[in-house]
Each structure stands twice: as C-alpha cells, then as structure tokens.
C-alpha cells in the first residue's frame, strides 16, 4: 500500500470518524518496499493540495522517513491569502513553480514507497487493519459494524 493511499484513509468504524485520534492510521510492524514508477509530475502537482500534510508528516515520522518529506506542503507556496497579501506577494505566488526536484522527491515518497506487510492501527479504537502483500483489508468484524 502506497504512502499516498494511507493519507486518504481513516478508521472504517463509524463512531471513530469524528475522533481526531482516528486519523491518520498508524503503522505497526511495517515492512517497506521501493517500487519505482515512472515520474508523473502532472499527477503530483494535481494531488498536492488534497494531501493532509500533518498526517503525512506523522506517517513519515513513524516510518523513519522524515528526511524524504519537505517540512510544509509546497502547494501552500502557490497560494496567497488574497485579503492580506500585497500586489507583489500575489504576483510572486503566481510565478511560483514547484521545482522538478521537489516533485521527484514527493513522487518517491508518495508513489514509489509502499508498505508490503504490516498493520494500520486506529489511534481511537485500536483496531488493526492488516496489510498482506501490499493489499490492505479494511473489513470490519460484525461487532464493529
């Protein structure tokens, strides 16, 4: 399971959804694998603003991959609060382009890095979702449905 996908996942238990402890899910006994895919800058640019950066940072920390991740979302550099910004600041933001180097780094972290075996654990209810051969199982047992 790619680290990108984990950013889009939370606990499947309905009563956990509203708890801030349920997101992101936490890795346990994670076995990492690098599966390089063709660099897709268009895709990375498109999804950047949809990422929850603090969740991504948590994931990186837990896996010891902090060095692979910029300290803030590069997409934020592209946006300027229209209220408080000067004309100059707005123009600078408009001309900003995320460098290919940064995009490549993000691609490596989000797309090329996957957890192949392990568990994702909810910080609220403690339920463990198993990952086997890269496929996560999020089905709930009857008592949690």
């Amino acid at each position: 399971m790619k680290l990108l996908t984990v950013n889009f996942l939370t606990c499947a238990v309905k009563t956990c959804k509203t708890s801030s402890e349920s997101y992101p899910l936490h890795f346990r006994d994670a076995q990492l694998e690098q599966n390089p895919q063709t660099f897709n800058p268009l895709f990375i640019r498109n999804i950047l603003s949809r990422l929850d950066w603090s969740a991504l940072t948590t994931t990186a920390n837990e896996l010891g991959l902090t060095a692979m991740l910029p300290d803030h979302n590069p997409a934020d550099d592209m946006m300027v609060d229209s209220e408080g910004a000067t004309e100059e600041e707005k123009n600078r933001a408009k001309d900003n382009v995320i460098s290919e180097e940064v995009l490549k780094k993000l691609h490596t972290f989000l797309v090329d890095t996957a957890v192949i075996e392990g568990k994702l654990v909810c910080g609220n209810c403690g339920f463990e979702y198993p990952i086997k051969e890269g496929v996560g199982n999020f089905l709930l047992p009857p008592h949690l449905v």
Binding site: F8, T18, G136
Partner: protein
C-alpha cells in the same frame, strides 16, 4: 496520412471549418456524450450542426472558439484532438459540401474559393467512396470519383500511402422490412448485414453473390452525400487492444472493454487525475481509466475478486496491468466496503482536508447476477435487528475462546443490502470525495424482465450530465454521469438529505432529470433556510 501536408491552411478561416465525424453504429446513445466529454477535456467548445442517433455521420464545428492562450492553435487541431481520444468515432474529416444529390454537391464544391485547394495541388492523394446502408460497384465508384476531376489536384494518385485522402460519404436510408425480407435468404442475408450496422462484417467479406443480391435493391439511392477530406483518426483500436478474450484476468461479470473505456471517458479520465472504482471486481474500470491516463484506485468487499488466486495482486489485476503496461498508473487496491468505508470523507471525519478524487466509476452489484452484499451479520434473531436493518450485537464472536475476526481464515459475514440504500451510499460517498466538477459515472438497471422501473437517484450537490441507455433483450441498463457541484455539504444539508428518498427522479434525459432535481431540492432548500417556520409548503419533499 496527411501528416506531411500543410493541412491547417484551409481551415483557419471561419467559413469552411465544419467537420464530419464518422461514428460507429454501436452504442449510439453514448456517442454524442462521449464527444461532449472529450471537448470539455480538451478545453474547447464543440457545437453539433447535425446529429442523429440513427446516422453514423455527425457534423460539428469548433464553437465557441478556444481562448487565445490555449495550445490548440486552430479548429483543425482542436477537432482532431477531440476525435483522437474517441472510442465511438472512427475518424474525422474536413467537410467541404453536403447535399441530397450529386448535382447539388458539385455545384457547392465548384462554388468554393480556389485557395482551399491550394495546399493540395501538388501532393499525392486518393479518393474513396464510402456508402452507409448502400453499396457501390467498382465502376460506379470510379464514375463518382471522376465526377470530381475539375478539382485542381495535380499530384500523383497513391492508393497505398497518399498524403491526402478525399472521401465521398453516401448516407442511404436504412433498409425497410420488405427489403430485408427480400434479402433474407442465403447470401442475401449477409448483404443486408454488411450493408447496415453490422460493422464487424468487413466489406471484403462480400462475395460476388452478395453483390448480385445487392442489385435487388438497386433502385435505392443515397439521401445525403458528403464531400470531405480525412484529417485524423480516433482511438477505436483500443477496444481491440483491450478485448476481454485476450485479457489475462477476467470474470463472467467483467464489463466489455468498449463500455468500460466509454465510462472512464465520460467521467473525464485523463493524465494527472486520480480515479477510484469502489466496486472494482476484476478491475475493468481501473484498467480503462488507467489507459486514458488516470492514476487508479480500486476497492471491493471481496478481495479475492481483484487478487485472483494469489494473496497479492500478481495473479489478479496485476497481470492485466502488466499486460497493458499500465503498472505505472496503478495506485492501490484494498478490501473494503462502501457502507463502512475507510476512505476520507469530507465533513464526516476528523480530517479537515479537502476532497481528493477526480473521478469515481463503477458498476455496482445490484444483485441481478450476484446477491447484493454488505458487511454485517445476516438476520438471525429478530431482537438483534435495528430499525435500519443492521444487526445489533455487543462484542466480538469467539471460536474456541479466540475472537473469530482475528483468526487467519476469517471471512466477514455479509447481509443483504437494499437497492436504495446502496445508491444513496454511492451518491453520499461521491459528494464527500469528489473535487469540484469531479465526476461520478455508474451503471444501474433501468428495468428488469418483470417490468419494474428503477428510478434515477438525485442529489442536491450532483448535476446529472449524461444518461445513456443500453438495451438488452430482457432488461436495460443506464450509465449515469454526475458532476460535483462546487461547495461543501453543510451539516444541515446532510441531515436533510438523510430524510429524503434520493431515488425519485422521473424522466430519461439528463436535462429532464436535472429539472426534476432542481424542483425537488428547491422545496427542501426553502425549508432549510427558514427552519423556524416549518410550514408544509414544500410538496416536493418526501420524507422516507
């Protein structure tokens, strides 16, 4: 073909920039929506000057013109880029003239300004006659072609590899039942088939006997004649590439490749986008969206469906991705249930992050072929059943003192799931995951053999863009395409939607359905806005 020539020359003016798109006759109600979706994707306006579900020829022009800062420099390139991505078109042609008779056609062509032919004066070329529902003998074709000898084309004729290809399309009336009957013997039957619709029978298959039989209907004549020049192909060849017969991993319920590609196309699958099929099965829609450039995710309540015989993906969908060299566009597959989804839902979970999917495409399991299942135990003890049909049970089940769900071979029990509940789950999921203007495309039965009509589900945050029907012998199904209306679902709105029956819409076409949707939800907005004065003046609201 035509690539080496200055083909943009004649079309930069506005007078002659009409194009003929040659369409297939299969899935005719999907053809116009496909072209419209491709025009949106290409960022250009496309107007239909002539379109008929019964005709393989439609006439379009690029209008309104693309803004000057787009990379598409002219109408030619714009229309080419649209058709180049089409599955249901066969090719696109610059249209010079259209008329009911050759006399009129030639008078139109002769009246065109001479500079139109300037770029083609010294290039190699060929002429073709293509008759739909009609047939022309070789001498007849030669006569038709010679009719254009007044054109100032001085280049050599090249049948194999011409720089330009001029095509005369003839549209004949569909065969009458009487003509069919007359032909419905021996080779005659094959003629009728090869003349109309059955495009899988190649023209070369016609024997001398067929042509003789065709003479039986020789008093017929074309009703419309088009004079055109070929400017670009479609990508119809993708359906050959994706033919299920040659796909490594499929099941009996896999959707055919052509319809899967169209579904992905109508949802605007394109490079850089993120797509999900939440009922992925053997991953046919994932393959289709990936083929069109999107990065794809899939989930299914039964992980065996996408894994095949292995624990990983290599024997299942992985084998298909590898075959088509689409591994680079694969996101993930996971085992999960839409009703208890682990995916981030805007407004429902603690993450404050934005919606994240560009497209959702699926063919949900309606229980027509397979029983409809959702996680949860089947009803056993009536005391355990809640009002909504869910089962109450405190704590896990134990087998020999071990919680059963922790056993390695645990298969989560499933319970039947109602049609309406599933549809509202899909719409709610789409509303909370799709980015603004993102699309949801899914299939649903229209009517089954007991003549039960299934209503179309509607949602205040989803505009219906297309509704296309595929008719079978005993039932029909519909492909519904929705677009996410910008804006968030407020808590108030969410509460109100819960109480409504979403599957209420009457009508068949997208605009009829949207009109109904607006009417239906207008009443409800009134109520939401003035919660204090809860007068019963909103007759459209139905509390379910």
């Amino acid at each position: 073909m035509g690539s080496a020539s200055p083909t943009t020359g004649s079309a930069t003016g506005s007078t002659y920039s009409a194009y003929l798109i040659r369409l297939t006759q299969s899935h005719s109600s999907f053809r116009r929506p496909e072209l419209e979706a491709l025009a949106i994707k290409a960022g250009v306006g496309l107007s239909f000057l002539s379109y008929d579900d019964n005709s393989p020829y439609c006439i379009v022009r690029i209008s309104p013109k693309p803004p000057s800062d787009t990379t598409l420099v002219n109408d030619h390139d714009a229309v080419r880029s649209i058709v180049a991505q089409s599955i249901l078109a066969k090719g696109v042609y610059e249209l010079y003239a259209v008329a009911p008779t050759y006399e009129e056609l030639h008078s139109q062509v002769r009246g065109l300004p001479a500079e139109i032919w300037q770029p083609f004066k010294h290039v190699s070329f060929k002429f073709l006659v293509d008759a739909f529902c009609g047939k022309r003998s070789i001498p007849e074709q030669r006569e038709i072609i010679e009719g254009f000898s007044y054109l100032p084309l001085k280049g050599s004729i090249s049948l194999k590899n011409p720089e330009e290809e001029f095509v005369v399309f003839e549209e004949w009336d569909l065969l009458t039942p009487e003509q069919h009957a007359a032909l419905n013997i021996g080779t005659g039957f094959r003629v009728a088939q090869s003349l109309c619709n059955a495009e899988n029978i190649a023209e070369q298959d016609a024997t001398a006997g067929d042509i003789a039989a065709a003479a039986l209907i020789s008093d017929r004549k074309p009703k419309r004649i088009f004079f055109t020049r070929y400017i670009g192909p479609s990508q119809r060849n993708l359906i050959v590439k994706h033919d299920l017969k040659k796909r490594p991993y499929i099941s009996t319920t896999s959707m055919d490749a052509e319809l899967a590609l169209i579904t992905a196309s109508l949802a605007l699958a394109a490079p850089g986008k993120l797509f999900l099929d939440p009922f992925t099965g053997t991953g046919g829609f994932m393959i289709a969206a990936a083929e069109l450039g999107a990065v794809v995710l899939g989930s299914d309540i039964d992980g065996r469906s996408f894994r095949g015989k292995g624990t990983g993906l290599t024997k299942g969908i992985g084998a298909n991705l590898k075959r088509y060299k689409l591994t680079d566009r694969f996101g993930d597959c996971l085992t999960s249930d839409l009703t208890n989804t682990p995916f981030r839902l805007r407004g429902l979970d603690s993450s404050k992050s934005s919606r994240w999917l560009d497209g959702i495409i699926c063919d949900p399991p309606y229980g027509i072929r397979e029983g409809l299942k959702v996680l949860g135990r089947r009803l056993q003890d009536p005391d355990e059943v809640k009002a909504d049909g869910r089962v109450i049970h405190e704590g896990p089940y134990y087998v020999d003192g071990v919680a059963s769900h922790t056993l390695p071979d645990f298969i989560a029990p499933k319970r039947p799931y109602s049609f309406d509940a599933m549809l509202s789950d899909i719409l709610d999921f789409a509303t909370r995951t799709l980015v603004d203007c993102g699309r949801l495309a899914f299939w649903m039965p229209v009517a089954n053999d007991s003549d039960e009509e299934f209503p179309v589900p509607i949602h205040p945050m989803l505009e219906i863009r297309h509704s296309c029907i595929q008719v079978f012998n005993k039932w029909s199904r519909r492909l519904l395409v929705y677009e996410r209306i910008p804006g968030e679902v407020s808590d108030d709105l969410a509460e109100q939607i819960k109480g409504l029956k979403v599957s209420q819409a009457a009508g068949r076409k997208a605009d009829e359905l949207n009109q109904f949707r607006r009417m239906y939800f207008r009443g409800f907005h009134v109520e939401a806005d003035s919660a204090v004065e809860k007068a019963g003046h909103s007759p459209e609201i139905q509390h379910g």
